[in-house]
Symmetry: C2
Subunit: 158 residues, 2 copies
């Protein structure tokens, strides 16, 4: 069997794939000291023919162990997933279709921004409602590549 | 006294000020039917010298009745507040500094996008953690105007 053990999402481990969007690190105090602004945390890239857009995704919750045989990527743009709940969610990424995929679990207060072209699994919340704000490329040209594995991968409970 | 009764946030009532970002209305099914994509819901505008960025805000929770005497606007860019929790938050907006401000309460599954130039109160969560993803203008030129009222406004409990 092809088994993957998820690890906690950290900026260091996720660096090849994208940004971790959370309240760690430096900030500016705004609003008379009542708000921390963790400024400009995502490397956004919508390509030459795209623009930024905000969409709302509602995905069906999954459970661990989770089986998948599909990854995808968006060659023309980055894609940020910003949870609208405090529930951890599962993030699957791969450096290439030939590589072993990696799985991460968020801590409930983290979003992610997948860099343009990063191979990733579909959105996989682990709790209802699977509600996310998504900042990705709006454009009229193709922006999806899919890879179907010949065998099924299973993400285990941590 | 200057009293404001908050109303539920609806797209119709909020139309002069910005977009309501939620899962109402039309969507595309993606990810083999397991995810609803409510596509490109915000009118983003970052001006001629700006670009989109994602920042994370953590604001101190407030309580109702809530007193304020300051509103602000960003003349060079739209600003979206996307809650990272399921808690309702308070939204204060005004058509101008001379107008009576209006207050809205979200339903716990709504973000907002303030149009470029909309007068608004500072970010006012009503529950901890006051955690939000913010999509606004990143740029090097001034983008903040403030207006201090001569009297204090009070937002009442609904």
């Amino acid at each position: 069997m092809h088994l993957i053990r998820p690890e906690p999402l950290t900026p260091e481990a996720f660096a090849p794939f994208g940004d971790v969007l959370d309240t760690t690190g430096a900030f500016r105090l705004i609003n008379e000291g009542l708000c921390q602004r963790h400024h400009d945390r995502a490397r956004l890239d919508f390509g030459p023919d795209g623009r930024a857009g905000i969409s709302i995704f509602q995905a069906q919750p999954r459970a661990l162990p989770y089986r998948f045989d599909l990854i995808e990527r968006h060659p023309e743009g980055s894609q940020a997933f910003l949870p609208m709940t405090e529930h951890p969610f599962l993030v699957i990424v791969a450096t290439s279709p030939e590589a072993t995929p990696q799985a991460f679990l968020t801590n409930g207060a983290q979003g992610i921004n997948l860099y343009r072209g990063t191979w990733h699994g579909v959105l996989t919340p682990l709790h209802a409602p699977g509600l996310f704000s998504v900042v990705d490329r709006i454009g009229s040209t193709p922006n999806l590549e899919e890879h179907r594995f010949t065998e099924v991968w299973t993400v285990l409970a941590p």
